[in-house]
Symmetry: C2
Subunit: 431 residues, 2 copies
Amino acid sequence: MGVMEELLDLAATPADVLPQDALRMAQNSLFDWLVCGRAGQGEPLSGILHQMAQAEGGSAEASVFGLPGGYPARMAAMVNGAVSHALDYDDTHFAHIGHLSVGVYPAALAVGQARDLSLSEVVEAFLVGAEVAIRLGLVLTPGHYNRGFHMTATAGAFGATVAAGRLMRLTREQMRHAVGLCATRASGLKSQFGTMGKPWNAGIAASAGVECAWLALHGMTSAEDGLCGPQGFVATHSDAPDEAAFGAAPGFLFGDIKYKFHACCHGTHAMIEGLLALPGEQRSRVKALTLRTNPRWLRVCDKKAPQTGLEVKFSYGWLAGMVLRGMATGDDRVYADALAEDAALKDFASRVTVIGDETLSDMMAAGFVVLDSGEKVPFSHDLAAPIPQDRLQAALVRKAEAMIGQAGPALWHTLEQGGPARGLAGFVSGA
Amino acid sequence: MGVMEELLDLAATPADVLPQDALRMAQNSLFDWLVCGRAGQGEPLSGILHQMAQAEGGSAEASVFGLPGGYPARMAAMVNGAVSHALDYDDTHFAHIGHLSVGVYPAALAVGQARDLSLSEVVEAFLVGAEVAIRLGLVLTPGHYNRGFHMTATAGAFGATVAAGRLMRLTREQMRHAVGLCATRASGLKSQFGTMGKPWNAGIAASAGVECAWLALHGMTSAEDGLCGPQGFVATHSDAPDEAAFGAAPGFLFGDIKYKFHACCHGTHAMIEGLLALPGEQRSRVKALTLRTNPRWLRVCDKKAPQTGLEVKFSYGWLAGMVLRGMATGDDRVYADALAEDAALKDFASRVTVIGDETLSDMMAAGFVVLDSGEKVPFSHDLAAPIPQDRLQAALVRKAEAMIGQAGPALWHTLEQGGPARGLAGFVSGA
């Protein structure tokens, strides 16, 4: 049938047949995304984008993280995408190697606010857009990612376009043109990692989505099949595309979305969860630790002698000591540079052994701790294992509290109530 | 030294060492670009973008073709880029296969107006930005163009960034970041040709330029070498880049810019110019014609029986007859569908012979006409030959008159006077 037609079918999925469990995860992502946005509003990048929004001004359509008042939806989407990705603490989908909420939710929320729609419609549009982004990622990957494109930005722009277009009630032909316009508009490179360009990529995606959908709604035309046609987005941006992958898996892949609960490298999270699952009484008696992890992480997060707080985030030894000491690894502010000088952590890290193990996936960790009695207690964790909603909710709210205080639990309550997208204006603006 | 450093050197060229002949051509291009923008303001694409500018509103920084009032520079750049390319009648640089003015001038003019700079500074910034775009095109091409990227949009975005950044007085380090941001922002595909997506690509480039320069000015950072670094723009967007090409040629390549003087396929222009060079007395006595042209044009503009006005633009036979009859081939409105039914043109076309000739470049035409006396008179033309400024000026003004009437010659006079960039607001808005 072709990727474009499959995409248009997916984009038009009636709300009443969207699966409840995927919608529940989309609602979780809305909460987590909003928390990341509020927590990121004080970053230097955010200040620069606030200046741009204020300098341009314009119609008061949508709210911006950390700024009172309203801004054009296209601008709000750009600022909010970048601000919410500034801490790199937002959700990830491993199947397509990308962050979904930061590219797609800013577009959905901005259009939902501009058109005064309900939060539930925003969540539905996000879910459909995010699913498009994941599946397009499967078509593009790995030739796309390996060539140097940033999936969050590129596949994300198509997700944002579909989410925005759905909320604008585009016809099938308008949606085809919106996607075709996105094909000539989407961009984003991985070589920006480590700079403000990385979070900005998410804002670019979100803004492109609002723009392409709006233009298609008002009659703009584009290539018939901008996606998989000759010299379309897929042909120009991937060396080994897999068009059959778009529709191969049934259901909604979005359900596998993963949240970060620790403000450090994702490669350390399985170890941290494994240690946290030990009884508290045992954690306080650990004298040494042996960890097995996927070998790819050895080059990334096994820093033996971190020099800064940032480097601590990439150090199994330090992080293990912090967990056993009961420190809040979920609070970004914990990672001060002084931590790298902490004598007790340094001492404990010298008794941490890290071993590469090909039999473990990159979402798994296993090993054992040695108690003061000499007893060895095994631990393990697989991030791929689904977390029951009650535990997930508790963890998301705990993370939110660590990041933005009591506004976190209050937001959870607000979202459970539903209501209009404009009802979030106060929270987003931080007013 | 590396492309990035060469680019930054070029971007910082002091105004007083810019070559006068290149500046003269940049001034010609400003005139031609403004005329194309005014003439394109009534196109359907323009109406859609006008709606977007009006819906968003915002700071009155810069003027938009066909709309009274002021708009944010970033928005004005997008609308003006697209509107001025809507008729596809703007200038071309054959060395890098792209249109320069429609991507770079909208950014330069918008920033020049926003910051209340002089027209001469706008022209200087344009020249430097356009030169960057041409040379980056040489680095990217042909692997870039052949893969499916639209040079006008991609290389054009870097040209727009440099022009905007120069007018914003970016430091060398800020310019480096601006170019790095453009690396993750630039986009544009050839598969949009034939749709509104093509002219929009020029607007995307211009808008990206204003945006990236503004963000760098306000402290945004990006990859150190977003251009030629690992997984930078060049590596991700070209299969066979030629980094040495950036600085290989001395001087300013921009001087070779070409203008369209006939609102038909560029492949027919050499024939038209050759026929126009015949004495008027002979033109009225032509009974038959034999044309030699580069074989690549035979598949493009030798339509033997055009059915519409658009197809007449691709018909040597019809166009030859029109020239000999003294019709205004430079006026887009001449190409009505009824022309395809014109019995006299049809009859003359039957006496036109077109022959492929590998010895002619794709900018050349040669042949002979047969007069009513039976005498054969040869003609030929090479578009690559420079046109003396007085003749170029006359041709540009004649083209302008055909497109926008007396506002054309008046604009030439205005530009000769210089003055502030804001002085063009009335002409651009069409007020």
